[in-house]
């Protein structure tokens, strides 16, 4: 148990360290990407083909080249 606690503590410490060192520009960029990706997630259901299972199953090609 004690060992585990120590591990968690260490983890938290290293997390704090990381956040101290984090470049605000990078954090800001990361946030923006997350927001943009969230927006994509909202849009994806509109474009994603319905009946996905059927569609993928039917997607059969002859080998090429």
């Amino acid at each position: 148990m004690k060992k585990q606690d120590k591990k968690t503590e260490e983890k938290q410490e290293s997390k704090e360290e990381a956040s101290v060192e984090a470049n605000p520009e990078v954090v800001e960029k990361g946030k923006k990407i997350k927001e943009d990706l969230d927006k994509v997630m909202d849009e994806i259901d509109d474009v994603l083909e319905e009946n996905a299972e059927e569609f993928v199953k039917n997607y059969v090609q002859k080998g090429g080249e």
Partner: protein, 455 residues
């Protein structure tokens, strides 16, 4: 960068989903698509005014071969131009369907596998000097091609033993040999097809079928650019020794299966290296090579991006979700799974795995990411649109483009191939163009000038 001709051939996946119960043979659908390209005819092989070739490949795939390019950037935009040309054909083909009283949707995918495990390719072609020992070429190139999938892979969700896994490359599971002459039965890392479409005493063709089709321009740029640099090194006898793999085909699969990129593969000498480490050996040697030859901005740019990509991959592959296809798609799928609380074996994930490659910009998920500003592009849309009409101006493709434009303006039928041009008519002469580096052809110029005088 050393003078070289290269081109990409892309075979696209094609499917028709009827709204009713009437299915159509794919030949018919492909016919409608081609009608969109060249109205009132059904050519299964057509050269276009941008010097490219469109044709029906084995297995009923639409295939686009870029014109001869001598700049890496041109190869990227002409590859994209092929996508746009096909996309333009879609509404025309849909209309033809409606005229026949059929309703349904046509989909075209720029990927390399279907749900049954059939595969179709993206072939890279590089013109090489004939006087280099081909065995030496393959020995130098195999570890490079086995490992470069970490930045050229297009990603694939595959079920193995009933469990879904995310693989780096679409093609890696379909490669069975080190070298072979076949492209359909035993696909290999190095294909020995050798049709240089040029003076065969001086040149040979390196035909590479091992790569994935890329949606990402950045990946295409690196794929062609790094390969061109390695080829220049080999031609200048600047060899990289000691990287021979114990079992390249197996190594390729192992690398494809590990998205953490930590997997080490065995070399002949018993040492084990990861794909990143193998690529780093090539990169360092390339930097050394470039310091000996004349400095040029294109090679420097390729090497800078190559180094950037390897650095980022070593840190955390997720950092390249704007540049590299397998990572962009993986990040999209993971966000979706988070949001929906589903797993990799969910059918919607399989759909995303496919739809990422839809060339219809309104439907394709790569294009959804691009619209949202989440993709790093190399070219602008204007560059791509220009390439739909305009061949590269410094290769044989220019002559071909000039000739086709002329024949069309004069309403003359013509026969064209990579190395010759001919207006149809028994009295017309065949114009040979054996030099792919030559953008001017005196006889084509005379033909056009004479027609202008007659006017």
């Amino acid at each position: 960068m050393k003078n070289r001709i290269f081109g990409l051939e892309t075979e696209y996946g094609l499917i028709f989903t009827p709204h009713g119960k009437v299915y159509l043979p794919m030949e018919k659908i492909l016919g409608y698509v081609f009608e969109g390209l060249i109205p009132n005819s059904w050519p299964s092989n057509a050269f276009l005014t941008n010097g490219a070739r469109f044709y029906q490949d084995t297995g009923c795939h639409p295939e686009y071969a870029t014109p001869e390019c001598d700049q890496v950037f041109d190869a990227v935009v002409h590859d994209k131009a092929g996508e746009r040309l096909l996309e333009r054909c879609l509404p025309i083909a849909q209309k033809r369907l409606q005229e026949e009283g059929l309703s349904g949707d046509i989909y075209i995918y720029k990927n390399n596998t279907d749900s049954m495990g059939n595969t179709y390719g993206c072939h890279e072609n590089y013109l090489m000097r004939r006087d280099i020992d081909f065995w030496k070429v393959t020995e130098q190139l195999i570890p490079f091609f086995v490992s470069r999938q970490i930045y050229t892979g297009a990603g694939k969700v595959l079920k193995i033993g009933g469990k879904s896994h995310y693989f780096i490359s679409q093609r890696s599971q379909h490669i069975h040999e080190k070298t072979s002459s076949s492209t359909t039965s035993s696909r290999s890392i190095i294909n020995t097809r050798d049709e240089p479409h040029a003076d065969a005493e001086k040149y040979r063709r390196l035909h590479i079928i091992v790569g994935d089709s890329n949606m990402s321009e950045y990946a295409t740029y690196l794929k062609v650019g790094t390969t061109a640099i390695i080829l220049a090194m080999i031609e200048d006898k600047f060899f990289i020794d000691g990287l021979e793999l114990d079992d390249p085909v197996k190594a390729m699969r192992e690398i494809s299966r590990d998205t953490t990129l930590k997997k080490r593969v065995r070399l002949e000498k018993g040492k084990e290296l990861s794909a990143i480490e193998i690529q780093r050996v090539y990169l360092e040697k390339a930097k050394e090579y470039l310091s000996f030859v004349e400095d040029d901005p294109v090679s420097r740019d390729i090497v800078d991006r190559w180094e950037f990509v390897l650095d980022e991959l070593s840190e955390d592959p997720a950092r390249l979700d704007r540049e590299i296809d397998w990572i962009a798609k993986k990040s999209l799928i993971e966000s979706y799974m988070d949001k929906k609380g589903c797993g990799l074996d969910d059918s919607r994930v399989a759909m995303m795995d496919l739809q990422y490659h839809d060339i219809n910009q309104d439907r394709g998920l790569y294009y959804l990411l691009n619209r949202s500003g989440l993709i790093e592009c190399v070219a602008t849309e204007e560059d791509i649109q220009r390439a739909i009409e305009m061949p590269p101006q410094s290769t044989r493709a220019k002559t071909r483009g000039d000739f086709i434009r002329f024949a069309k303006a004069k309403n003359r039928s013509y026969t064209v191939d990579w190395t010759y041009l001919k207006l149809n008519g028994y009295w017309e002469e065949t114009i040979l163009c054996m030099d792919p580096f030559s953008s001017e052809n005196q006889r084509v110029n005379e033909l056009i000038a004479a027609a202008n005088v007659q006017q």
